[in-house]
């Protein structure tokens, strides 16, 4: 299975490199622009490509920018941001591809741990029909959730469809309506595109407390000259992160998120400081676990280690409401950036005691503080675009990154009893993972990224009480990860 995936991936990489070599360079783009917009003032004479021109090219994993067009009338194909098919100025269909190959190493004896894996292999299309309707469809070709034994017993995989949605500009910028499957608006790190991340892996809070994608409808927009952004939506369940082949997750999620730059009026240094917050409320039912194939799968959230995916906190039975709260800050200044986020999740446990008593809420909390520095001097953006491409007179962009974070679980309040480990524990025994990540990112050009991460994890509150771990897992250990990313 792995061999077939890697062969397919290598073939994809080879094809992609051929496509990259054939992609339009800055000069070609200039020519194209000239041809597309003949009525504009006369273009300068085409010149030799300059490395610095690369920064002017849109990166393929940036949002589609309707302004980046090669004009003309009637059907035509071209490639600026993505390989693209256009009809006049009213229809655009871009082909997109994202591939990530990971290599990792961790403590000796880590079970079910593959040194190399094709982590993501996504294809999709996006575009618009008239300037008022956007659409996107993205599909994951690699499904990691199920192992062969799961498939053999007939377990169903999580959907491999990612973003599948339509966005209608009801009132351009002020009010848009998005419908389909897309990310529930919750969490700065979770909302950041997977190919834009400063680290190989998202923070633990984003991975295990934030909801991620679901089917729903959302109203969103920007007001006060982009000083305030908002998202409000209703969703069928509570996102992919809460669902596994054992757990159904929550239902009927209402989520709202607001971000803004309220401090920008105080001082220029706060110009790019964006503050955000979100809330999401879902129903969680104690009936959902009945769909689990072994009948002993509680439906609460779980905690796993970053790389080896060992459970350091197993789910508990929950029933009632699941509430998530989040606050974040995102700041950039020239080549540096900083991010911080705090997430709180509370699950009701109505009637979930061994004597049917209502237990105090199960609680998950997470925070992280992250910083990056583009040592090659580019302005920090996501994605990072090098000022000077490799092989075009430069070296690409190099960035250093560091993140400290914690994810921990327990129950609210103190009944005076001794906490213990059970899916129906009165006082849940606290368990946490503290993680320190150091990273180097190298972007040779706008298509490729190489990420190296060293990750130190410390499992707290376990001691020798490795309740959920089916094998000896050290209290603290290092993992190393390398990721090669290609985006077209």
């Amino acid at each position: 299975m792995m061999k077939r995936d890697r062969t397919r991936w290598l073939a994809g990489v080879a094809a992609a490199i051929v496509m990259i070599l054939g992609a339009p360079g800055p000069a070609a783009a200039g020519q194209s622009q000239k041809q597309d917009q003949p009525k504009k003032k006369k273009e300068k004479k085409p010149k030799r490509p300059r490395a610095a021109d690369a920064a002017e090219q849109p990166a393929p994993d940036e949002p589609i920018d309707p302004q980046i067009d090669f004009g003309g009338r009637g059907p035509r194909v071209g490639w600026k941001q993505h390989p693209s098919f256009r009809v006049g100025s009213w229809f655009r269909l871009d082909y997109e591809m994202k591939m990530q190959e990971d290599g990792h190493a961790s403590f000796p004896g880590a079970a079910n741990f593959t040194p190399w894996e094709l982590h993501r292999n996504r294809v999709g299309v996006s575009g618009y029909v008239t300037k008022r309707v956007d659409f996107e469809v993205e599909y994951e070709l690699t499904e990691k959730e199920l192992q062969d034994k799961d498939i053999a017993r007939g377990a169903l995989p999580r959907s491999q469809w990612k973003d599948v949605d339509v966005n209608v500009h009801v009132l351009p910028t002020v009010a848009q309506v998005r419908a389909g499957k897309f990310k529930i608006p919750f969490g700065l790190d979770e909302m950041t595109g997977v190919t834009h991340s400063d680290f190989v892996y998202r923070s633990l809070g984003a991975s295990y407390l934030d909801p991620a994608r679901d089917i729903g409808v959302m109203v969103h927009g920007r007001v006060f000259k982009r000083g305030l952004n908002y998202w409000v939506g209703r969703f069928q369940h509570d996102g992919d992160n809460a669902q596994t082949h054992k757990e159904q997750g929550g239902d009927n999620t209402v989520a709202a998120r607001v971000t803004g730059a309220p401090l920008r009026v105080l001082h220029p240094v706060f110009k790019n400081l964006e503050i955000g917050g979100a809330i999401a409320v879902s129903d969680v039912s104690d009936q959902s676990f009945l769909k689990c194939d072994t009948l002993d799968c509680p439906n609460g959230l779980r905690g796993r280690t970053v790389v080896t995916q060992d459970f350091f906190f197993e789910s508990v039975y929950v029933n009632g409401k699941r509430k998530r709260y989040e606050a974040d800050a995102d700041w950039t200044a020239g080549p540096v950036s900083a991010r911080a986020e705090y997430t709180l999740q509370l699950d009701n446990r109505i009637g979930e005691g061994t004597s049917n008593q209502t237990l105090s809420d199960a609680r998950g909390r997470a925070w992280y503080l992250a910083g990056t520095w583009l040592v090659t001097g580019e302005k920090k953006k996501r994605p990072v675009k090098p000022e000077s491409d490799l092989f075009l007179g430069g070296f690409g962009a190099v960035e250093l990154a560091a993140r400290v974070e914690r994810l921990w679980f327990d129950s609210v309040g103190d009944t005076g009893g001794v906490p213990y480990r059970s899916p129906r524990a009165i006082d849940i025994l606290p368990a946490s993972d503290r993680v320190l990540t150091f990273g180097v990112n190298w972007m040779p050009n706008r298509f490729m990224k190489l990420q190296l991460n060293a990750i130190h994890e410390q499992l707290d509150g376990l001691g020798d009480r490795q309740h959920a771990l089916t094998k000896p897992v050290p209290d603290q250990f290092w993992s190393k990860v390398v990721r090669f990313q290609l985006v077209l």
Partner: protein, 421 residues
Amino acid sequence: MTNLRRLARCAAAAALLFLPPARASAQTTVTPDAASPMFDDTVLHDVSLAINTRDLAILKANWQLNSYYPADLTVGDQKARGVAVRSRGGGSRNPVKLGLLVRFDRFDKSASFLGQKSVVLRNNTQDASNVRERVAMQFLRRMGMPASREAHARLFINGEFQGLYTLVETIDDPFVLSRFGVTDGRVYEYKFNDVAFVAGADPFVFNYLGPDSSLWQPDLFNPETFQSQVDPQGEVIGKLFQALNDPSPAWRTLVAPYLDLSKFVRELAIENYLGEEDGLMGDYGPNNFYLFRRASDTLFNIIPWDKSNTFWPDPGPNFEIFRNILDGIPSHHNLLALRVFNEPDLLNLYFDTLLECASADDGFLEAEVTRAENQIHDAALADPLKPFTNDQVEQDFVAMRAWAHDRAANVRRQVTDARAQ
């Protein structure tokens, strides 16, 4: 120059990332045995389980599955929170009077209760008297065998009386520590394949299946202890049975690193003395035993399990000492038992051990049956979920006492007759 500095910084950062990581390792600890109060057979215990009613309904509806459900357990005045309960048993598994396995370490690997990682609540649905298992294990221990301790208990689930049960010490890490003095042993439970047997397949009769580890575990011998779960080493079990089936005259030399044949013969004799119909020389092929070996060597020990079918009533106290050797279905015969009885010294040991059992008995079994009966009589009759009538229970008490009374004389006579032939 600036670019060179930047590149140097990048290279230094990358080098730092890939320095050898610090390592630490987890340790598994087993606490010394402290379970005596739970297996004190001088008292009839009261055991309570609190299970969420939804879980209990699912457990009863899916009694054939091994799914675990969280519960709280109380034995006397000792309470264990966060235990896990599941339905258990082969022939004794029952949707009405649940056979239960209670695990204290299911949700917390290091958790224990009175020194135990788990305990069986045996429902005794195949034993109207309820005393076979307890008295047989007691006799095995009397004969120096590593057998489970047991005691009777009234079981209440969510306050409702479920009937008379037997608390049975499980064969796991604490058992290995208390009986063999090691914490690094590997224990495997032999899993009789009921489904295949009912479908007409021949049972496993100690034949050699091949060298592949997966042929021996987990389906045939299920790893029980932590070490054997991490690294099952089924191939070592394969080597045991390869040696047992070696056709050469030197087979006993080949077997020596894997099994002490004299201990095996003693186990055969004691089980036979107890009239065990479903043991190593069982009517349906070998059954109800565990294998144990230390991590440091390859020598296996046989640990007896489930003695519900001892004191077998057919034909009674004159239960044949060569049952399923000279009679029975040939395809169910234990190949190793057949082989050891062809070795004169081992056959002689078998006879000697049977006589030793008779001496060790000398009224012991009858006294213990009577003591147990007096202790549990009222609870057995009050058991609301038992698959027997009260008359059947009373009759079985009588039959058990008679069986125990007559067994020693019958065995002595059979041994004398056999040696004369």
